[in-house]
Symmetry: C2
Amino acid sequence: MIEAAVMGFGTVGGGVVKVLEENAGIIRRSVREGIHVKYILDLREFPESPYRGRIVHDVDTILNDPSISIVCETMGGQGAAYKFTKAFLEKGISVCTSNKELVAAKGPELMETAKAHHCSYLFEASVGGGIPLLRTIITGLPQEDITSVTGILNGTTNYILTKMEKEGTGFDEALKGAQENGYAERDPSADVEGYDTARKIAIISSIVGGGTAAFEDVHCEGITKITPADLHCANALGCRVKLLAVMKKQESGKYSIITAPFLVPAGNALYNIDDVFNGILIHGTMVDDVLLGGRGAGREPTASAVVSDVIDAAKNKGETVPCPWDGSKKLDVADYRTAKYRFFVRVPEEERAAAAGAFGDITEVSEAEEKEFSFVTPELNETEFAGKAAGLTILSRIRML
Amino acid sequence: MIEAAVMGFGTVGGGVVKVLEENAGIIRRSVREGIHVKYILDLREFPESPYRGRIVHDVDTILNDPSISIVCETMGGQGAAYKFTKAFLEKGISVCTSNKELVAAKGPELMETAKAHHCSYLFEASVGGGIPLLRTIITGLPQEDITSVTGILNGTTNYILTKMEKEGTGFDEALKGAQENGYAERDPSADVEGYDTARKIAIISSIVGGGTAAFEDVHCEGITKITPADLHCANALGCRVKLLAVMKKQESGKYSIITAPFLVPAGNALYNIDDVFNGILIHGTMVDDVLLGGRGAGREPTASAVVSDVIDAAKNKGETVPCPWDGSKKLDVADYRTAKYRFFVRVPEEERAAAAGAFGDITEVSEAEEKEFSFVTPELNETEFAGKAAGLTILSRIRML
């Protein structure tokens, strides 16, 4: 029997215990000896839980039990989670986590620690919830030169944008609805400002590119300024507005990484990824686009991903599961302003001539808002856009995929 | 250096050499020593090819070279391909193939042979072309109780159905167009009768269920009888007609496996999988639905999948890559007539009363064809349907997802 512990008996931690217990038979097909949850670390008591006998309050109980070989970190944050993770890895105990904040901030260091102690730091659940995203890139596409990754990686913002579009509501009202339905946190900034998505694409880029892309390497724009007028014009263009994470390998070999709202055209596979669902397109030079979709959040899906890591750690006991992300290297990240996109732009009607003159070969949006002029620019980089937009009253500008 | 050989220098075989050569640098990230194509077995000469120096005509040249540790079988068929594969595996040389016909027919035997000789028989490319489908199920979802798999697994038929729908043409005309564009073979029966799809879902079911599902275990209906009237009525119901492979785990633990045209409703992720693309929904009890999509055929995508297997074989030299499909077991397959579906049905207008009486709680299709009555039945199994349909003139009946 492989003995494991779960740190944090909240939503995801509870799900991890559930998956390990309910699917024990299935898991034995991969790990013959089976995986047993010996301890659950939490500050609270759970007198009603069938697992109350396994609750411990002191991490040392787990650290000092030599039978433990895998720990799931489902606590969140960068404080105790970091300290405990580091301590376990230094003892040669693998840690599987759903804590994307910690992975994005300390992933390289923790992976190096794991390597030095012949164990693994695994984080499938930190990106795309239940979708086996990282493992598909690592084990399914190691033969591919992956030149771009484009994804809807945050369910909360996708839910808000879908709601705004379907019900014609503004951002604030849609956010309130999402909060009431439990799809958004009371402090929604990590989601709506794009930080959560930025952390996830930083992790994916590090895996794809083989070196660390930090959160700070990702240019980040949120959805707070998106208006019903933007969605209306997008629809008129046969597009929908989605908060995307986009990683592009440039010809120079550098990677441009941004998180921002985009106009996604109807033919694109991400166009139909609605509500809380996540979707991701991985482009390899040989395989073309591979689409992955599913539930990017939620108790059981996220827990399922953590358990896929537990199985991997169990199968590779005593060694480090190979990962292309080399924590000792920095990814060569391009200035985001060098990446070219077409932009959807809204200006006041009286600036029609000035805008047309400045941007040149534009495509007008036929169904513009009243007293406005809307158009799509040719491909421009950020600096070029800023130059041409100088002097215009830009009501909104959104990149196009 | 890992020395490899490619058997069959046709479309896929040529692609395999291309991927291994062009992505050699990428591949070294997973297999440090690199992978080198030493021989290409083909009966033809290729005087213009840069690889002409590696062409051999006698399989014994490869069999007798002790440096070879991996062979790609991209010949197709069950004759020489089987004989050669068996011979290599018996020498402890791993074989990676795109030959779904051979996998569906002899997979269990060849996997057992591989196991006995500490090598691997791998076949990612046999299903879903470039989509890393089997590896995602095996390495990404080993923690999941997968209760259904629903997929569009044949690009040719999906292209034909998309064309019929968009252009209003009949099956014969759309098939002719597909043949002219190189999307369908001169003898299209393997595609249009559903045999190709059936082989693929047999392979997937064997992986998911852990025992062999044979081609003969799959109930198989093709698309040759689908008419523009069916597509028109499907659209009126908010659906599209797709040739699906459906594996369902029943409560009894038995698996029902069929390949047949289905009405797919607009909310389903497979609704938007068009043209030659493939898509598959994997349902696990914890993760819910995971969607995978991409190019299900074509030179580079299929070759890419073969090379993903080559990498896996190289990383596991001297041992057998674990696979949940136990070739010594038979999958417990249910009689397809026990699975329940709703059916879309067309009968002549004069049988309206009789049909309504026989099927009970039906939903009428408002935009039926002239002089016809179309409806959707409640959930019925095959035997129940046959009983109720006795005496009626069934113009068509298509299952609904």
